[in-house]
């Protein structure tokens, strides 16, 4: 009798767990639907043939599936080189901003010095300035780039860095890139959570500050570093603001996609070119998703291998 009830309760809790699991799954499916909905039309339209696009009876599911749109996009002028450029550019920027955030955040979290509060405030402040207001100043700063007037003393009046990768790299190395303040804050908050005893034990063993940072802190912070890397990579990849100002001449992917989009409105074959440019935006985002799927496994593995005890 007692054995039976015990069995029953185990069975019950198992059923309850299953019910919770199914409920959560349904909830996630619902939320995913909300997230995916704006893409749904674009994705399905990308598979439509020309007849489908002009057929008013075909509204969502293509009647004749085709890969023609993807072919057009991939063969279009400069798309693949643009993607390669963007990939290299984004990797460079993401690496720079990850390391700078790791550095600056550590300085703010671990060392007590006068003015650290002010510097933290300045980091937050750099994020508060709306981008539209620094549009023109940003351009002129890099159009006539100069360090404390040294260049103008030499008589050249500043160097133009426009259309080179340098402005973005300079901004990310110094923790000033697109929303870079949040990377610094993220790293700082993470370091604060690491027990002080760990680093002090290392100092007792004669490890230098730099050594401790590279050998102990950085491997531990792996999952946070990956978050920073994926955010800055993804945001650089799809960035239109900075590349419009600083790299309007360089062939970067977001600009190519946007240009295709504006070109389509003047085209005679309106809907086909429009759907083509939309397909281009999907193709542009796919590498990002693959990249994130690969990285998010690293976030989990980072913890299991580092062996922090909280």
């Amino acid at each position: 009798m007692t054995l039976n009830t015990a069995k029953l309760s185990v069975y019950k809790s198992k059923a309850g767990k299953l019910a919770v699991k199914i409920l959560l799954l349904l909830l996630l499916i619902g939320l995913s639907y909300i997230v995916l909905y704006p893409f749904l039309f674009k994705i399905l339209a990308a598979f439509m043939s020309k007849e489908d696009l002009y057929d008013s009876m075909v509204s969502l599911i293509p009647a004749h599936w085709t890969l023609e749109r993807f072919g057009t996009v991939l063969k279009s002028d400069g798309f693949l080189t643009g993607m390669l450029n963007t990939a290299l550019y984004s990797i460079g920027v993401a690496v720079c901003s990850t390391f700078s955030a790791a550095f600056i955040g550590y300085g703010l979290a671990r060392f007590k010095f006068k003015g650290s509060g002010i510097i933290f405030g300045l980091v937050v402040f750099t994020m508060l300035i709306p981008l539209q207001t620094i549009y023109l100043p940003l351009y002129t700063t890099f159009k006539f780039f100069d360090v404390f007037g040294i260049m103008s003393l030499l008589g050249s009046g500043g160097v133009s860095l426009i259309d080179t990768p340098l402005p973005m790299l300079l901004l990310s190395v110094t923790g000033l890139g697109f929303r870079a303040g949040i990377y610094v804050i993220l790293m700082r908050q993470y370091y604060i959570g690491i027990p002080k005893e760990l680093t002090e034990a290392a100092y007792v063993d004669g490890s230098t500050v730099m050594n401790t940072f590279w050998r102990i802190i950085m491997p531990m912070a792996r999952s946070m570093l990956i978050v920073v890397f994926s955010l800055s990579f993804a945001w650089q990849w799809t960035d239109t603001f900075y590349s419009n100002i600083l790299n309007s001449g360089t062939k970067l992917l977001p600009r190519i996609v946007l240009l295709m989009n504006t070109a389509s409105s003047n085209s005679s074959d309106y809907y086909v070119t429009l759907v083509n440019s939309n397909t281009a935006s999907i193709v542009a985002v796919i590498p990002l998703l693959i990249f994130y799927c690969l990285l998010q496994k690293q976030i989990i593995q980072g913890i299991e291998s580092s062996g922090i005890v909280g």
Binding site: L28, S59, K112, Q132, T133, T174, I182, Q189, T240, P254
Partner: protein, 312 residues
Amino acid sequence: MKKTNKKMFSLKSRDDKMWGWVFVSPFIIGFLIIFLQILIMGVRFAVSDVSMGNGLSFSFVGLKNFHYALRVDANFLKLLWTDLQELVTTLPVVLIFSMFVAVVLNTDVWGRTLFRAIFFLPVIVCTGLLSNLDASSSVVSYMSSAAAASDSEGIASAVGDISRFLQTMQFSPELISIVSTAANNIFDIVNRSGVQILIFLAGIQSVSPQLYEAARVEGASTWVVFWKITLPMLTPMMIVNLIYTFVESLTRDDTALLAYIKAMSSTKGEFGYASAMAWIHCLVVALLMILVFVVIAYGKKINKKAKEEEYK
């Protein structure tokens, strides 16, 4: 005895100072040679009448632009107030929602890799490319025009589907409008929580598994584990997300005020006035931010005191 040991092991305060400056030096250098220039020029815009002729020409007008924004222009303060109201309502919802999703995505729910990828999409969407495309392209509205002809909003979101479904079920229009507003808000919240979910997820991952194991051995329920382990360990990330949500919801392009500022500079060519408004906006946000920090610091102090008393 213990105290002297600790002092011996920790760095000397002089070294502490030096290394602190070494680590933050990249930011300081960048701030001095790049950001300061941008700032000064931004201020110069705000105190001038800027005209676009052959290049830009500035004529100094002092605080006229600021005065105009605060005293003459009726729109400015009204729009600023709208933005702040919206912030107050969305901030807690975004934070709670993103934490909830992060916790769920961390359980062994089926297909979580796929779901994590899907919830990464809003992170990408919040930057320029996709939103720019959506604003300028009509493919979505074209494709859905047949189905959504009755939809006055014509927004491509799941909302249209839901309200259409309710219409076919012949529910009352009041109910439909309530449900569709709610759904519209959910759509907005989900799309603004992408980054926060990612940060919380990484935060949960960095909680040591031993803590959870110990709790399980002691027989703690999932509910208790969340409140006693997950939530306290996530406080640092909570602060990050608080700052991020705060900044993001006041500085993204489509807030009422920033859209107004943008229109002022791009279509009317009032660069100086637009810049002055942006500076006031920035100052207000900075002051609020300081207020938040003060509250957080105060909360920490109280917490610490309570803990100390508990130990006594």
